[in-house]
Structure formats: C-alpha cells, structure tokens
Symmetry: D2
Subunit: 303 residues, 4 copies
C-alpha cells in the first residue's frame, strides 16, 4: 500500500484510491490544475483538476479508439482539426496517416502542451515537431467562429465540462452546428463523450441526442479504458457514413492501404466490438430526450 | 459520503471504497464468509469473502452474458449443469428455456443458497421452486467424478480460487477433461473466467490456454459489469460450434423461436460485441503459454 | 486490512478509517441511528449517527474522567442527575459511591438504553438494575423545567449537537441556568465538552465562556481517550469548589474513605494531570468571547 | 475532500488519511525518503519514510515538550548535544537559553538539514546560523564512541527505528550507557519515546524500563501533539533531578530568570500536566519487564 494517493470520487458512495509512487510535477494555469504523477499500476499519469486524463499503460486504448474509426472511414482525410488533446497523443495517432496534410490543434491552455512536451514523451512521441501541425492556443469556439477553414475530420478530445468551466459551450447544439459548418461534404465529427456506465449515462446519452439533431448519422461507440474505472464512450457523426455496416475485413484492408501498422488496440475486430452496443445501452440512448443548448447546457456531475 | 464502507483491494495501489447504506446479513460457513449489504449506487450486493459477487443493479449483465450464448447456440439444450451459482440468477436465466427439462445445480455451500433464497429474491425470482431443478450440495469435482449423467450445457459460475480454497481443483486441465466427459456430443462448456483487464489478464489467459488443450473450439468473450471495477471475461468451449461466426440476425431469430423475451442485456448485437475482442487482448491470449494442472494450479492473486 | 470499515471525517482533509471485524446490531430511532460494531483494535463500539461514542477498550478513561472529579470533590453527593449517558457506564461509575442514594438518569431515547442493556454489558455491568436509579425517557430540558427536584451533582453526558438536533437547547446559557436552579448549595455541574484540540477548540471554549456567566467557578479539564482521535475535554462548574487546588493526596484519601477501589484511570495524580492545562489551551479559553444562547446556539461542526 | 492525500497506517485496522493541498518537495537519501507537503489542516509537514514528523501548526508542542523540562531543570545548561532533530526546531528551542554556549547536533543525514533550511524556515528560524552550533553529519553512536566531549544535556530527537534501520542501535541499553558516560555530573538525558497510547505502549514502556537500568531517576512524561494521532511520550533521565517534585511556580520563576519568554506550550502548569501520568499508564510502565539490548533490540511496529 502506497503512502501517497489520489482519490477519485466517482459517486458519493464510490471512491477509488490510486496509490502514487511519486509526484513528478504540479502547476496551476488560468484554466486548470495540472499534475503529473507516477502510479505503480498504470505508470505515468496526467491529472487535470484532480481527474486522471490518461495513463501511460492504457492511453493507447483511448487514443486509438478516438482517432482511427474516423480516419479510416473517411475516404480521404486531408485536413484534420483536433479540439483539446494537449497531451499530443490524439495528434500522434492522426499524424500516422500520410494523406493528412494539415492538422490544426486548438487547445485553450498553452501550458498543458508545454508540460506534456516535457513530461509525457511517451504520449506525443515528438508529434509537436511535425510540419503539418498548426498549433493554436485559443478557445475552440472562438477559433471556429472566426475561421473559414474547412476540415475532413474534426476530433473533440475535450473533457466533460464542470459548472462554470469555459468548456460548457463546447458541448451544445449550437456548437455542434458550428462544427458541421466547418466540415467538408464527406466530413466526420468524432468526440469523446463520457462514460457509458448504465447508471451514469446521462451525459453521454444527452450528447448523443443533441448530435442527432445536427447530423444525419450518429453512432455511439465504446471502449474499456481501465484507468477511468468506467467503460468509456465516443460518438461518431457524419451525414453519410455508417461505421456499423463496415465489414471487419474492409477496416483491415484500409489499415493496410493507408500503411497504419503499429496499432495495439484498433483493427477490424476491435471496430466491430466498439460499434456493437449492448441492448440496455441502446435502450438508454433511444429513450434520452434531453438536448444540450447554449441556454440549457450540460455539466459533468461533480461528485 | 457514507459512514460505512467495503474496501476492495484490486491491486496493492488500487483500492476501491464502496459506501454502504446498511448491513443486511452476515454469516460464516465452513467454506466462506457471506454478507449481504445495501449500496446506495448498486443496490443490494452479495459479498463472499469480502469480494462483491453481484449487485442488484447490474447482475443482469453478468448472468445474461454467462448463460445465453451457450443456451442459444446449442441446437437443443435439454440437460444443463450449473457449477456454483448459489444466488440462483444463473439458474433463473437457464430456466427461461422451455427446452431445458433438467437442471442440476451443484454448490458446495448449502448456506449460500438458503441465504440467497431469503435475501436475494431479485436474483433467483423463485427459480429454486422449479420442478426441473435438482439441487446438489457437494463439491463439483466429487459430483462429476461419481455420476454418469451427461449434459448438453455445463456452466461454471465459480469464483476464482484463492490459495488453499477447495475450488482450486475446479480450474485445472484435469477437471476440464472430466467436464468434457460429461458433455453430450453437441455439448458446450462455458465459464466465468476472471477479468480481462490487460494488466491483470494472467488468470483469464491461463484458463483460455488450458481449455484449448481440452476443446477444439475455445472462445474468450467479455462484458462490462460495472460493480466489478474491471471488465469481465468468459470462455465458451465446444468441439463444434463457432460463436464468432454466427450472424446477429440468427441470434435474434433463435431468441424469438425459443421465446426468450425479457432480456435486458443480451441479443444479437450484444453477442457480436462480446465475442469481438480488442487486438491487445487477442495478442495476450495468443501469447499465453501457462497451463493449469492439478499439480500446478492457478490462484486468483490475493492483493 | 479489514474489508469493512467506518469512516470518521474529523475535518474535510482529515479522515480516519476504522476497520470493522463485524456488525453486531443496527437500528434507527426517532432521535438517531444506533449501531454496535466490533473493531479489531478497540473492541466493541457504540456508534451514534455515525460517530463512535465509546469503545470497550478505552471507555473507562472517558467515564472515570467525567464522573469522579465531581463525585470525589462534592462533600457529600447523595442526589445525582445524569443527562444522556444511555450506555450506562456513567451510571456505573456514579453508583460506585455508597453515599449516593438517588440517581435520576434522563435520556430522550429509550431504545439506546434497551440496546445497551443487551449489547453493551461491559459498559453498564448491571447498573440499570440498581434500586437507587430512576430512569426517565424524556427531553432533559423538559424534565428539568417541570421538576422541583434538587441535586448535588449534575452530569451532562450528551453528545455535541448537530444543526437541527433537539440537543441544541441543552448547550445554552439558558439551559445552564436551569441546571443551576436544580443544584443544592454545594452542587457541582460537570459536562463532556468536546475536543480541546487547539485547532478545533471553538465548541469547547464557547461552552467554557458560557458557563463562566452562570457559575462562579468553572474549570476546563481534559483526558486522552484514544478512540476519539482527538484529546477530549470536560468542564467542572460550581460556586465553591476549586478542583485545581486540591492536593493529590487529598484525592487519594477520599477515594479510600469513599471505598472507591477498582478505578483504572482516575486517582490523585490523574486528577492533577487533567486539571493542569497546557499554556496554549488556557490562552484559547481566555480569549473566547462567544456565548451560546437559545437565540444563538452552538453546533458541533458537521464535516 | 482533497484529491491527494497521505495515508498513515497506525494499526492494520486504523488508517488515517491526511488530505494534501500541495506537494512541495520530495527526495530520497541513503537513509530515508524525505517529503515536504502542505496540509489544509496542519499546514506544512515534514514526512520521513511516509510518517509525518512534524507540522507547522503543532510542532511547537512537540519541540517545547522535548527541550524545556531538561533545560529548565538543569542548574546550568552550557553544553548541549542533540541527536537527530534535522528540522532545526529542537535546536531553535535550545538556543533560546543564553547560558548554552555550545550545541553539538549530530544527524546522520545531511540532506534532511539542507532541505529543512530551504523549506522549513518556520521550524529552524535561522538557528543553523548560530555560532554556538557545531553541526556533525554522522551516526550518533559512532560520534559518541569516538569523542571525549561531555554534555550537560543530551536530547534524543530520533524517530523510533524500523527493522533494519541504522537507528536500531540508538535505542538500546548499551547506547544509553554510552550517553551517560558523556554526561557531566548534573547531566540530563531526555528522549522522544513514541506513543503512550495504552494499546500501543510497548515501545515506550520498554525504553522506560531500559533507561531505569542506566539512570537513577527516570520519568516518563507526555504531551498531546495532534498531528501524530496518538498522545506522545518522552523520557527524562538523570541521577539527581526529580521533575515531578518541582513546584509550578519554580518552573515559572526559572523561565523568567533565564529570560525564556515566547513559549506557546510550556510553563509551570504545563510541566505539572506532562509529568502527571494517568493511573493505567503508570501501571503499564511498572509492569514492563522487557529491556532493549544491542543483542535484543526494539523496533517500532511497522503496520
């Protein structure tokens, strides 16, 4: 049993204590508290505002799940926009595609990128040096409202907003319409969308119902990322593409064609697993009526 | 935050505290400590030797995942053997099949059944009264070694053995051969097989490699049961049936034919999800060389 | 490490986890939650509203500290009133004095006495059977407002009130005046008065300053009762007696004269220790200006 | 509730979680792990090998209790030896005495002094700059075995040894004889001596019985230092002086004569309190038969 630890309160009656081997770094920016700690079980971890964002030993699951379905299913992904994703691992996965000739990454907090560059080399693996990258430190909504740029794939790697956080307006119907306006005709929007634990699904299901008002084709999918305690969900949106009806073999063929070789988590069978949802989760999604608007936003529950 | 709680040590540095609303019942038998507690988040929980076995609000996931793939894929399941499963919920799922005309349930601990009958009606739902049931309180290996009975489906609902526990010899190559000897020609053996969390997969992968020496067709599958903290795994074994190559529609058709209507978790899409494994888990299974023998048994790690 | 435990939140950043061997009993009355648990370190414990009230292995410290200074220093204690004290251990200590010919014990909660009689024999040791006892189940203030009885010693064994609890009006200037009206001329009032931990002393120091407005001689004293985590305090009040200027030898002589033989904690040297306060505690008491009135009552801080 | 915390395991079933506001510093030396953390309740804390050594908001209690009884009762303390005490606060209290013209402080770990100088200014308050100080980084036993120096007061501010720690031989009959050989004729030896919690008193009582074989007059005394969870004890040894029979007024007079003005904890009344022990503690000390020898040393129990 370690002396030091980090407590995650997942519910008033569910508390997880993660022992900590050492504290690597801590700072506070105008936007958040940033800490880097070393866990005996999960290795190095990035902690924002007291919540573990990703760990050395399982971040590959989260980042491959977030990026590859969209990048593989888009017929020709050239322009990619990443919202958030300061660790650089979402960027790392996107840059594996040689078709991608421009990546804009918009993170409000320059410091989280600086700290990741120094302390999380296993995450970014030098991606911040790639010439295709345009790194913008700005509020994502402000950026999109003022740019004419259009993208093939937009990836939201933003953590769920707490009450009062500037991220609140990045999880609304209005914002998703702005994103859609910046997508090319075959464009795909994909987001991390909270847990799909059936007793904590409200955030996820509200995002799902909100996006269904914006896009013609909206698919929830999930992956088990151990450090989050709970199963994790994502949403895949477009007007044309149906990721559920793609054959396993087609995914594997495209991975080969696009020369994506070193994945640990994602391939055709994993794709099939992620987009197949258990019955009770499908039911919860169908029954959700809540929509997040600028005037009625959604917060992650602070336990 | 509750005053009382239950601590699960999942790893020396990973401790989960479950708040407890009330303590319903506690006793100790020659085989184990049995407790029934009420959790604010998960409802009533059965706790054996300090580990939560199942909770009111998510046991449907575990029990449907354990039972239905085997019962649906067997062409005509009439005789079923359940090892363990004292709560009565595995039995409840089996009895939904009208083709089943005989169920033998062998549990070493009569008291766990008595207590479940009294305190866990949501689990068994009266199944212990079914006339098709033959309830045997005996060591499962001893029972099988002395009976000539043959079964269409054998379901192992036994918790992973701790060092010194009598269950150790129910998780070995020798025992699985005994099971095979009691299967009819189309027979299926299915077992709960520990977590498939990639950093804790050794128990599961050893069971998988052990069973591959006994059965021609061995398939690992998984489901996310929130109260266990970790994703959970099962193994499906037979000499003929390939559960991965069954179409979603075929599963749904059979559920209808067999008149199985009130499932919350399992159906064709769920089946597809469960039997599709992520790449890193498939790799871990392929690489496992360990085999559990009577002379070299496997224990669940006591943290 | 035990599986089950009880959490005491002593401050938002100071949490004590007490492992629990077994749960003996739990109930809820109109006044409080009552639980009896078995701790590996402290033995049997009485828990009211989630706070440990006393433990088998150190209750002798608390109860001897509460009772004996008053009973020894009173010239002739015949009539004694106990407020609260449902476990029966305060009563047990009072009854050791053969001079005492009448004890009235007023506890609002009949059930806590019933439960103590059944589950805490080590506390009461049969005291509830003593013919000198008059047990009254009633609100203490209501009882005192309506009785003409006078007492030599009044002992308040009430836990500090939480907001909204009926005990709030048993910790005010007005109530202490009522108590004084029911004391004979040599009368002594003694109360348990919360922790005297210097960072948590506000409750204690306010009681001290409130009582100084009622009695001529008011003395804070303290004892270390391990299960409370914090050092514990009491207040001794009268119009005549100065417990600080009594010689150690005088205490020992009186204990012998009054035939009090089997004490484990209290004697002349212990008395000297308890009434000698460290400098910073004396300073905190002197500086306290707050007074608890019916119109401005004091609550124990709920962390 | 803080996200980060420090766990102190006081017993297998008694665990205290201290929330931590921030981590100031951490390092590891050949002798120990050193951490400086900020607690919301206790302020800055020094942590050695995962145990809190002293906190900003109550270190005055510990250090005044350790130093002043000896320095006040010695008729003329000129030469003082401090063993351990790297924070500099024991030194700070000793240097308040103008009669003291030489202080030797021997700490095995140079780094703990360097870190304290930088991070714990509230502890040392510049004492390391005092010209009377001779700071020696060496094993205390090795130092004493090789020096001819004699002292008026020797103060042991060493933490209780764990199995295998070099401090083990600083808590034995043989070492105390070496100390005695280095005391002038009126000399006093005083040590911190673990908790005197009656259920954890074995370490303290063994030190007490060991010292009684070395010195004519040996007195256990105690003080409540909140951050330690348990009441804390010290032992005062000499061949001539009886600290229990000194009048409160005499202590206060000497404090004035020696011009010791700014104490927060210690004075005559505090002295009386500390040297008066409760009956059950005196009994435990009398009954202890264990003696710590080099060949049969004593360890602090590692829970």
């Amino acid at each position: 049993m370690n002396v030091y630890g980090l407590i995650e309160k997942n519910h008033p009656s569910e508390i997880h204590w993660h022992g900590i081997e050492s504290f690597i770094f801590a700072t506070e920016t105008p936007y958040q508290k940033i800490e880097i700690v070393e866990s005996p079980f999960y290795g190095r971890c990035l902690v924002l505002d007291g919540r573990i964002q990703s760990s050395e030993r399982d971040e590959f699951i989260y980042h491959e799940a977030l990026v590859h379905p969209a990048l593989i299913l888009h017929p020709s992904p050239q322009k990619v926009l990443i919202l958030g994703g300061g660790e650089g691992a979402t960027l790392r996965e996107v840059l594996k595609y040689k078709q991608v000739d421009k990546v804009v990454m918009v993170d409000i907090d320059e410091k989280v990128v600086k700290i990741s560059q120094e302390f999380l080399p296993q995450w970014h693996k030098g991606s911040f040096e790639d010439k295709r990258l345009n790194l913008v430190f700005r509020d994502a909504r402000d950026y999109l409202e003022k740019t004419d740029a259009k993208f093939d794939v937009v990836i939201s790697d933003l953590s769920e907003p707490m009450k009062g956080s500037p991220a609140v307006k990045l999880f609304t119907y209005e914002f998703y319409n702005i994103i859609k306006d910046h997508l090319n005709s075959d464009g795909i929007f994909v987001m991390q969308a909270g847990t799909s634990h059936h007793l904590k699904i409200h955030f996820h299901s509200t995002m799902h119902s909100t996006l269904k008002k914006v896009f013609d084709k909206v698919f929830s999918y999930q992956a088990y990322v151990p450090v989050y305690d709970f199963i994790w969900s994502f949403i895949f949106c477009s007007d044309k593409i149906d990721p559920k009806n793609v054959l396993e073999e087609e995914i594997n063929k495209r991975l080969e064609e696009r020369d994506i070789k070193d994945l640990r988590f994602y391939d055709g069978e994993t794709h099939k697993m992620m987009f197949s949802l258990p019955k009770h989760i499908r039911k919860a999604l169908e029954e959700e009526k809540n929509i997040a608007y600028d005037s009625n936003p959604l917060y992650a529950v602070e336990e």
